[in-house]
């Protein structure tokens, strides 16, 4: 059981005004991060930016995992987070390789150029 020391938060007058930080706060924050990531993925054309947005989405999810892990007082969520981080690292490696290849072939990393997978 990992105890989180939050006493230092109370020393900040601004934070104290918020009252106690509950799981709900974390979930709202995680949703926001996830939404920002999703927005990036849907709207941007640059493959690198999309990749970074994807990382944001993953980390939004990670935050929710950790929050719930704390609420339920077990380690399952945190274990998942480790998996997600590991997978994200692998994914970044593969994705960057693809992006480099894309850059070589198309002379750019805009996804509008990569439409070969036409059904």
């Amino acid at each position: 059981m990992i105890a989180m020391d939050t006493t230092f938060l109370a020393s900040s007058p601004a934070l104290a005004a918020l009252g106690e930080i509950t799981t709900a706060h974390y979930v709202v924050l995680s949703s926001l991060i996830f939404a920002v990531g999703l927005f990036g993925v849907v709207t941007r054309k640059n493959a690198v930016v999309i990749l970074m947005s994807l990382e944001l989405m993953l980390n939004g999810a990670n935050l929710a995992f950790v929050a719930f892990s704390r609420q339920h007082a077990n380690l399952q969520g945190q274990v998942f987070v480790f998996f997600v981080i590991a997978v994200a690292a692998a994914e970044a490696a593969v994705a960057l390789a693809i992006i480099i290849a894309l850059n070589r072939v198309k002379g750019g990393v805009s996804l509008d150029d990569a439409t070969e997978l036409k059904g």
Binding site: V42, K45, D112, E116, L117, K118, G119
Partner: protein, 651 residues
Amino acid sequence: MANLELYGYVILFAPLVATVLITCLTLKHKALSGWVAIAGMLAALTANALMAAEVFSAEPGFTRVYEIEWLSAGSVVIPFGVQVDALSTLMGLVVTGVGSCIFIFSVGYMKGEEGYSRYFACLSLFAFSMLGIVMSTNLIQTFIFWELVGVSSYSLIGYYLEKDSAVDAGKKAFLTNRIGDFGMTWGIILLFYTIVDTLGWDRASFSFEDLRLLYEDTGAVGAIMAEHAGTLALATLLIFTGAVAKSAQVPLHVWLPDAMEGPTPVSALMHAATMVAAGVFLVCRLFFMFAPYPEALAVVAWMGGITAFLAAALAFVQHDIKKVLAYSTLSQLGYMVLALGMGSPPAAMFHLTTHACFKALLFLGSGSVIMGCHHEQDMRKMGGLRKKMPVTFWTFVIGTIALAGIFPASGFWSKDAILGSASINHTVPGATFLYGVGVLVAFMTAAYMGRCVLLTFFGKYRGHAHPKESPATMTGPLVLLAVASLFAGALSLPKGISAEGGWLERALVGVQAAPSWFAGVHEEQFHLSVAIGGTVAALLGLFVAYMFYGSRKWSIDGFVSKVGPLHHLLEKKYYFDEFYLWIVREVQQRVAVLSNFIEVHILRWIVDTIAAIHRWFGGQIRLLLDGHLHRYITLALLGVVVILTAVLVGN
């Protein structure tokens, strides 16, 4: 007695081991392949001899069944195993004994052939299949080996791959046999269904001994069986169609003469001695299924009588020495089937045994002649070989005497047993007429064999080769088989000659069911009148042959011109082939065209339409996927939103 099981499995699997060894290891080493095959056959023969020593010294009716559970589905069990009794032992001895002679003969005959190893592998496979039928304990096992015999026969008839006629003959044999097997399949199904339907799953079985108990039951089960006599008799006759095809009875006989396209030892082993006898053996094995139905036996008897006569007549107009023997085989098989129909399996098995000896001898003799004349089979180009091939000549004459049924050769005794069973039969309609046919066929047999011997061995040589005697690997088996042909009659001397009557009849007592009407029918007595009648007919036949072909006092051409239309009918083999061809061309072809129309224009149209509908929908959906990643993501997102909304609203 535990050894019996071992003997049984050795008999069954030794030839298979030889097949596997040859195909896997020794294909390249021709001589070795031959000896491996012979070793397998001799192993089976040895095991069979040991088995015979025990079985024939046991009490009459001795039967042991060794089975393992091979397949099971619900309460139905299909066993696999060996049945050891007098019938299987005797038939096994015929197959392995004659088989061994022919394997050894083949070493000489097939020398220098391209496919020498393939030939011996196929021959061993055939021996395995045949012994599988012989040793089988149940209908399913029999059927499997029955088909295997068909396959190995196919591969051996078509042995000369490069000859179109040989390949066609193989196909013809296989397809004709398939027709019979189709009937047999339905017979087995109908039999099994009837038993399940009337007696329940508990009594359902494929095993011969279980079935026999049902048929021989005299209590409640027997009464139920009697109620369904019509259905069961039909099932019996359907199974009999399998035997009709395999034993080449009219009208499914057309494949056998063509099967002579195979190498001569193959003709001797399969199309004279063993494979074609499988039908007769099957009827003996299942005789308890025929015995309660006099009508079924009458059908069998008439079929045999008709075949015996029609085939014997055809033998007169053949010029190919092997074709003469082929039609003779048909005729003799007709004899055996006649004996079965007359209710005398021992007489049929007796004739089967002696016939296997002398017909194998005659075929191998013809093989030796053909080799001597440098692969010439036409008797018009032979003649005068008596001096040039003395061993072949004398053994061939012994075979002819045995086949013609001249005292004291084996054929005399077995033919007498058959004619005797026909002469005293009083259950088959027209039994006396069939007896007359039997005597007539005895006359014809002697006549066409006399013609064959006179044309081949006497007179002046009319060919262009330089015939000389065959090597010892070929003449050795000839001499062995000649001795067997002379003395095999001693197996079953009838009552009146030996004190206790036919040995075979006593040994095969288990084969015979004995319904009330049956008693006395099969009593194998020596009837002097029958023996004299048969012998006179045979001598008359030889005399006629001598007048036509020996002394030439009677003119054969003059005779032919007198019976022109009949001669033409014989030359055309009663138009059976033409008739079947007509069926295939006119009937089957039209059915095929109609089926093709239904398939292409109706069935395929339905399937194609269903496929087209799906393809159209697929095409529409495909438009969405234009390769732009963002559209995919948006669509996926949309999907998630829809699902989430649905779930949340639902809750």
